[in-house]
Amino acid sequence: MTFVAFASYAAEAANLKPVEITNVSYDPTREFYEDYNKAFQEYWKNKSGQDVTIVQSHGGSGKQARSVLEGNEADVVTLALEQDIVELEKGGLIEPGWIQELPRNSAPYTSTIVFLVRKGNPKNIHDWDDIVKPGVKIITPDPKTSGGAQWNFLAAWAFALNLYQGDEAQTTQFLKDLYGNVTVLDSGARGSTTTFVENGQGDVLLAWENEAFLSLKKYPNDFEIVTPSISILAQPSVAVVDEVAKKRSTQEVAKAYLEYLYSDTAQRLEAQHYYRPSNPDILKEFASVFDLQAKLVNINDDFGGWQAAKTRFFIDGAIFDQIYRK
């Protein structure tokens, strides 16, 4: 009897060899995924009895996407921009339709763009039209090299377009004034945070909300967060890299890894790391943390999707390049 039980246990154990998956992500998610991986390991062990280890890789979102495209084997990607995952789809690594595979456009958590200003808000900055005034020094990453920075640009554009009731010439001029006030255009979001926070440059940092909270947590006496009246809903996307997962037979666990991001446990964990949970009820639990009053435009309804936005604003010679042309 004991022998039979032992045999079946052994058979099951043999079946459930520990599995390893690689999550290729972008820079500011490092701390979140460290916590999340622990939660997922526990969940997966309870559910299937299998041990899972997760290898994390972080870097600039576009750079990470390119590394996967060029052979860095990732079972799942959790990147800053939908467009970065679309490039993997174009490269044949991810099957089309991935964006519908998971709820809310495969974006389990969202964020937005806020202003980080110096304590006491000496320049009296409350909204976008305050930062285009002469003499305000802005720090923001370059949309040409940083995915996050494209959200900044689009948020400002949405504000100005609303201000000028759809007049594009005036909106463009607004962006021109805004970037005219930019004193350092770092190549990535973390670099911008360093420039503003550590090197003391500028009066206002255009930042991801979660990054702004992290700076605030680190230096509670030095900064304040200002949420503008209009900003953008930043939706970092996640997807299983089908080609790799198929090859390594990790489809099941990779899919579960991403699905679990929508669980209540994970959603609260996201909020603790200052990402906005995509579950509206859980988001409300954190109403004291996030400013839920700001109007958030989104890329699909207000800009016709990423492809359209990229072509219109960010490719070489498009609007962003034009606003710098003299």
């Binding site: 600039g60 576009g62 750079k63 390119r66 490039e87 370059d142 040409k144 090299t145 940083s146 995915g147 930019v182 004193t183 350092v184 255009l185 770092d186 190549s187 670099g191 360093t194 420039t195 550590e198 090197n199 003391g200 440059q201 990229k310 960010f314 490719i315 070489d316 390049d321 710098y324 042309r325 003299k326």
Partner: protein
């Protein structure tokens, strides 16, 4: 070619590594895999781009401003490096003092340090809130996020090339010549410029060329200290990265090609000058 073969044959008589055929075979194979094929793949990445597109890409106004900035900062940095490098090499070879070996060891640190780390620390140090930058800020000089900052980062990463090119030459230089010059009544500066300098000049040129080529292509340490503002403080490697971020491999490689050609022209002309100088010295 005939001359070259003659030299090779001559070398055959007293060589340490046996088998010329085998060694040149291995050398060429290695060179192919490590240097030539990656370089050629740049051309491959360009395929599909018409000549017109290529020209348009590499002569974009924003890019022209960046070439100007990258090359002028690199030039200034390498010139400063030559002066500074000669001085450093001189001190390291001619004087015995405590801490000399440590100082000697420091010279290579810019090579060993991850460039981004160097960039971040230089930026902090030279920003108007930093230790050094703060002092300069008082007299109204801004260093980080300006061309000055870019030049300083380029000096930092270039200095080992110059020092390490000149040092061995100075070490081997026979002191008798200097002594003779002095006995004949030459002043110290005259001795330096007429006796020592011509000897180290070719090595200084090599150091200059290497430091220049490296500075022009340097990304990691320069990008943090540059303000990256289009037309003003944007270096060429940043624009290459910006094109890569757009998954525009062809545009990125066409700019890279321009950089490689420039670097090659600089290194090649320096080689020619050097050959002339050494020949004259030999006569």
């Amino acid at each position: 070619m005939g001359k070259l073969m003659g030299k090779l044959r001559l070398a055959r008589g007293n060589n340490v590594i046996p088998g010329f055929g085998l060694s040149i075979g291995i050398t060429l194979a290695m060179l192919n895999f490590i240097v030539l094929i990656p370089l050629l793949s740049i051309l491959l990445n360009l395929s599909g781009m018409s000549l017109g597109e290529f020209w348009k890409t590499i002569t974009d106004r924003q890019l022209l401003a960046a070439y100007k900035l990258s090359f002028s900062c690199a030039l200034v940095a390498s010139v400063i490096n030559v002066f500074f490098g000669i001085l450093l090499a001189w001190i390291l070879t001619r004087y015995e003092f405590t801490g000399r070996r440590i100082l000697d060891g420091f010279i290579e640190l810019p090579f060993a340090l991850p460039t981004a780390v160097a960039g971040v620390s230089l930026t902090t140090l030279y920003s108007d809130k930093g230790w050094i930058g703060g002092l300069f800020d008082k007299i109204g000089v801004k260093i980080s996020y300006t061309a000055t900052g870019i030049t300083i980062a380029m000096i930092f990463i270039g200095i080992p090339f110059v020092v390490r090119s000149i040092q061995p030459v100075l070490e081997k230089l026979d002191r008798q010549y200097e002594e003779a010059a002095m006995i004949l009544g030459a002043s110290r500066s005259r001795t330096f410029f007429k006796v020592v300098f011509p000897e180290i000049f070719p090595a200084a040129l090599t150091g200059f060329g290497l430091a220049f080529a490296r500075a022009v292509g340097e990304y990691g340490s320069v990008v943090f200290i540059a303000g990256n503002i289009p037309y003003r403080t944007q270096i060429v490697p940043l624009l290459i990265v910006s094109k890569l971020e757009q998954f525009n491999y062809a545009a990125a490689t066409s700019v890279a090609l321009v950089m490689i050609v420039f670097a090659f022209v600089v290194l090649f002309s320096i080689n020619i000058i050097q050959a002339r100088v050494s020949k004259r010295a030999g006569e």
